[in-house]
Symmetry: C2
Subunit: 105 residues, 2 copies
DNA sequence: AGGACACTTCACCATTTGGTGAAGTATTGC
DNA sequence: GCAATACTTCACCAAATGGTGAAGTGTCCT
């Protein structure tokens, strides 16, 4: 569900995790390091991201390596595309927006 | 804050409201109609969207007309753009993703 | 003025969320 | 085997969230 994806991104720690993972894979410890957060909290955050389909988790030795799953992101891109298509499709809409920006309250 | 925007979109009712508003302005009553929800609940949902900068609310007679504010949406578009730029910038990254998709656990 | 209409504000409630410390599990290295 | 490492699971807590009914506010209509 798209709302699940947005929910996963609605937290500063998790948004930072996604940002970090966009630069490459990282272990739980590496992800936790810049956030002054306990291991259980990090486990929870990553689980939310995994449940939303944004992150892939796999065991490597005694560490757990996380990677980003671009598929989930492209779902958001799709939604954004559909959304903007609607209001760009009519000039009336644009005129309406301009008019409404004009008046004070 | 971007997390506030995502938080506002992390609810099915509010996501539907945004979808509805992308087709044009609507009053609170019109927004509530398809959702079997009480007026106080709708007021709360719209406030969350207004606080996130996604929606503009103005009084027209005894109704309240809501419109979408594209600026907040474009902030999300910006973030998505930055994110995908990172992992598309290196071929190594793509290879890494393919390798990791390959193995089972 | 007074009633109807379209919300909003005000408690209030149940559930979810983000956090913790303590205990448990899997893996590495001596 | 045993200690250390790297998490995870397990209660548990405080705060936020999404919902409600009841009462309040502003606007239109007669």
């Amino acid at each position: 569900m798209l709302t699940t994806t947005f929910g996963a991104l609605a937290d500063p720690t998790r948004l930072a995790i996604v940002g970090r993972l966009s630069r490459g894979a990282a272990t739980m410890g590496e992800l936790a390091e810049p956030h002054r957060i306990t291991p259980p909290a990090m486990t929870k955050h990553v689980r939310v991201l995994v449940d939303a389909g944004l992150v892939h988790r796999r065991r490597v030795g005694r560490t757990v390596v996380c990677t980003l799953r671009p598929e989930a992101i492209s779902e958001v891109q799709q939604w954004l595309g559909d959304l903007t298509t609607y209001w760009n499709s009519t000039v009336d809409r644009l005129e309406e927006l301009l008019r409404e920006d004009g008046d004070g309250h």
